[in-house]
């Protein structure tokens, strides 16, 4: 009990002063939401939105470490490359989704199982 109370008071004292861990925990929440979106959504485009959430979470991490580890710009350059690849991924994936729609008349990922049959 004592240790729990200690932890709680320490946590409440930590909460209003923004540190590196605040940004990291925020990105962890975004990452978890992105994974939830990818695993539960049936529509392929919403799965893509989950991927975008995950990429944003990783970008927050990169930039937070770049800021808090001295202002070192390497993390920001990495974030730029992540954004570039996200743009590529969105374009290609949407082209694939459009082709799937023309062929199957649906974009529900669990209806497209011809390879399994």
């Amino acid at each position: 009990m004592q240790s729990t109370a200690n932890f709680l008071s320490e946590f409440l004292a930590w909460l209003p002063h923004v540190s590196l861990a605040h940004f990291l925990i925020l990105s962890a929440i975004l990452f978890a939401l992105g994974i939830y979106g990818i695993t539960t959504r049936r529509n392929a485009i919403l799965v893509l939105m989950g991927v975008e959430l995950i990429l944003n979470a990783s970008n927050i991490n990169l930039i937070a470490f770049s800021r808090y580890g001295g202002v070192n710009l390497d993390g920001q350059v990495a974030a730029i490359f992540v954004i570039i690849l996200a743009a590529c991924e969105a374009a290609i994936a949407l082209a694939i989704v459009l082709n799937i729609y023309h062929r199957f008349q649906t974009v529900n990922v669990d209806d497209i199982s011809t390879l399994k049959e």
């Binding site: 992105g34 390497d74 920001q76 082709n99």
Partner: protein, 170 residues
Amino acid sequence: MQLYDAVFYLFALITVCSAFIVVFSRNIIYAAFSLLFTFFGVAGLYVLLSADFLAVTQVLIYVGGILVLLLFGVMLTNRVINVELKTGTIHTVPALILVAIVAGTFAGLFYSTWKGTSAPNTTLQTTTPSLGELLMTSYLLPFEVASVILLIALIGAAMMARRARKPVEQ
């Protein structure tokens, strides 16, 4: 609590709440539009982390490019006129357990490791010139490779997305 902390919590609230809507909303259009607010919130966080160039890039590319692309996808692959914009979910419970484990592990790890790290007291300046310099010196090869990948991806996407042309009649 100072202004910086208050602004952080404002942007964090915007980001997390709209991300919740993206993931849990049953209407695809609502999900797509709340993704807009997520991207804006993340851009605000970049400003707080003194990454001004990346904040602008985030707004330009994510909001102006990727989000519009996703909306195009939504409009082209759903019967908008018959209002069939709802979408179902599958295996919700295992996903919730997985996500709780992932988020709890990460949050505990981050909290216990970096809770004391505060921002170093350096004078902050605009990052654009130094980023450009880095891209043209240490990161020249990745920069060129990325631009080639972007070109290939765009050509490939354009080729895949258009309908197959009918064979020319002799």
